[in-house]
């Protein structure tokens, strides 16, 4: 019997890696997504070596040049090479996609597991706070936070982390509730395992596939949110080479230099598509119930 009770946690860990590998092998789109994202990571890391230009150096004699051999995507309104700025922008988009998403996931998971496992007044309080956060249209709450903190990339990190935890907490809590009554948890409790150990060693590993799925859905979402907020002028501030911010300038030069507005959008679209391709495959492999 005791061996049986060990099974779920052990199997979850082994099959997780297996599921992910087969998902990527079977799904061509997932492979394409992985390729796009890898390319982006390489570009972001090697940015200074990939381009001969400085993303910040202003050169007014070369402003709004059309795409050419020396400036593949042309130059912006201050004479900076657009492609260079977009490559540096990949650093920002990747960071904004991954760091706040991870923070939101960690906070949400902790709240969800504790809330679901401990129950009682603590559970009630935490879930009412989550309800309040979830009641907001996310963009509006982001506006409120950015108003208070004022626009900057760092503050955007904070705003997006604050927004995301509630959904994860809700999902993880309901998972924890169903796991709490299972035999392996009862067995652990009956031999006197401490609650903190049960939460960490028995409940948490079983939530991991779902947490990964939520994470993969959140990353592209955050990249889009950063771009939109920066586009509106309440995210990253000049001269940060954020894709959304570059597109804002493009709006002003739509008639004379349309490439400034159009090129950053293509970078965003391809990046988000890449993450979505991977996310779809991961979700199908790990937790098809979370579909839409």
């Amino acid at each position: 019997m005791s061996e049986n009770n060990e099974l779920p946690a052990v199997r979850a860990e082994n099959s997780l890696r297996l599921d992910l590998v087969t998902a990527f092998r079977r799904n061509r789109m997932a492979t394409a997504g992985l390729a796009i994202v890898s390319l982006l990571v390489v570009g972001a890391v090697l940015a200074p070596w990939l381009s001969p230009y400085d993303p910040y150096a202003i050169d007014l004699s070369n402003k709004t040049l059309a795409p050419s051999a020396s400036h593949w995507l042309g130059t912006d309104e201050l004479g900076r090479d657009l492609l260079t700025r977009l490559i540096y922008g990949a650093r920002i988009s990747l960071m904004i996609g991954i760091v706040p998403a991870l923070i939101a996931q960690i906070v949400g998971t902790s709240v969800g597991v504790v809330s679901g496992y401990c129950g009682g007044a603590l559970d009630y309080l935490l879930m009412r706070i989550a309800d309040v956060v979830l009641a907001f249209p996310s963009q509006l709450l982001a506006l409120a936070i950015m108003y208070t903190l004022s626009g900057s990339l760092m503050n955007l990190f904070i705003a997006l982390s604050v927004l995301g935890w509630a959904q994860t907490a809700r999902v993880v809590r309901s998972l924890t509730l169903s796991l709490r009554g299972r035999e392996f948890v009862l067995a652990a409790r009956s031999i006197g395992v401490r609650n903190s150990v049960i939460m960490l060693r028995h409940i948490l590993p079983n939530c991991i596939p779902t947490i990964i799925v939520l994470l993969t859905m959140r990353i592209p979402n955050y990249i889009l949110q950063e771009a939109s907020l920066s586009f509106l002028g309440i995210g990253a501030q000049p001269p940060t080479p954020s894709w959304g911010l570059i597109a804002t300038k493009g709006k002003e030069y739509l008639f004379s230099a349309p490439w400034i507005g159009i090129a950053p959008g293509i970078f965003i679209l391809v990046t988000v598509l890449g993450f979505n391709f991977m996310g779809d495959a991961v979700r199908d492999a790990l937790d098809p119930t979370l579909k839409d």
Partner: protein
């Protein structure tokens, strides 16, 4: 049913209080005196002090919050620093434009999304299915502001067919509705497809098929209605995403709706106005949630609500 509705409505009151408290304290901890911003070229300390007293800004935050709640319950959301008009008036003037935009976008997205999802689900993994779902995924992955810029460039600059900004005639609405409706349509299409495929696996579909009904009548009579149930639930989410989306769309196209009011309120540091818009927007979303909830239980008799 009515009992459930009442219960749902009452249960949103604590949420509304929580939401308003969060927004109020978030906005009122901000450094930077609104009076100093309002009177930037007029710095007479006595007058400043008087205005501050008149606007009750010298009271502690909890007292101002309670006063704000009492006013909000009567529909008074305060007074815009920048526009020097009541916030409720500004919202009342802007909201019809947002509604017009959002409802048109929702209708378009529903028609296109459901039809696309249906076509996709009839022959899953066919070329048409892959093409449509690829298009839908692109729709979800595309930043709305960029779609707006590209459409403005193609139809406004290159072809010169449509106006790129303003909100005067139906021709002004084509581009913004497309931008706002595009990602919604993509969402509806993906959901319709997966839901229809799920329904098609059920036994009663096989029964209907085996009694000789054609595929088209099976889908029309038996499958479609059931598969649209989950699609209805995302209506609630749509109220929220349309409202969020209208912020960007209205800003790009220069539409005088509440999304643009919110952005200009931020840029002007107009706290009461931003606070009012956020409260109002959240209120609308909560109402949308209740409506979707009620609609769902009306459409699906299997769902009976039990008190948690």
């Amino acid at each position: 049913m009515i009992k459930h509705l009442l219960f749902r409505m009452l249960s949103t009151i604590p949420i509304l209080i929580g939401v308003s408290a969060l927004v109020f304290f978030l906005m009122n901890v901000v450094p930077g005196d609104p009076i100093a911003i309002m009177q930037s070229n007029f710095i007479d300390p006595d007058a400043l002090e008087r205005v501050r007293r008149e606007m009750h800004l010298d009271d502690p935050a909890p007292i101002r919050y309670v006063r704000f709640l009492a006013d909000a319950a009567r529909g008074e959301l305060g007074y815009s620093y920048k526009l020097r008009r009541p916030v409720s008036g500004v919202i009342a003037a802007a909201f019809p434009n947002t509604i017009k935009l959002a409802v048109s976008a929702a209708l378009v997205s529903w028609i296109i999304g459901i039809i696309a999802g249906l076509i996709s689900a009839v022959k899953p993994n066919s070329f048409v299915d892959n093409a449509l779902m690829g298009l839908a995924l692109t729709g979800i992955s595309m930043p709305a502001f960029w779609a707006a810029l590209v459409l403005q460039y193609i139809f406004g600059v290159v072809l010169g067919l449509l106006p790129v900004a303003g909100f005067e005639s139906w021709r002004h609405m084509i581009l913004p509705v497309t931008v706002l409706g595009w990602s919604e349509a993509a969402m509806v299409a993906r959901l319709t497809r997966s839901s229809l495929l799920e329904v098609m696996r059920h036994d009663y579909i096989r029964t209907a098929r085996s009694k000789g009904l054609s595929w088209s009548s099976v889908i029309r009579i038996h499958a479609l209605k059931n598969s649209l149930l989950p699609v209805v639930t995302i209506m609630a989410i749509q109220v929220s995403t349309l409202l969020s989306g209208s912020i960007v769309t209205e800003s790009v196209f220069g539409i005088p709706g509440i999304g643009r009011v919110a952005v200009s309120a931020i840029n002007n540091r107009d706290m009461p106005l931003l606070q009012g818009v956020i409260m109002f927007g959240t209120f609308i979303v909560i109402i949308g949630n209740i409506v979707a909830d009620v609609l769902y239980s009306t459409l699906d008799p299997r769902i009976k609500y039990v008190r948690e």
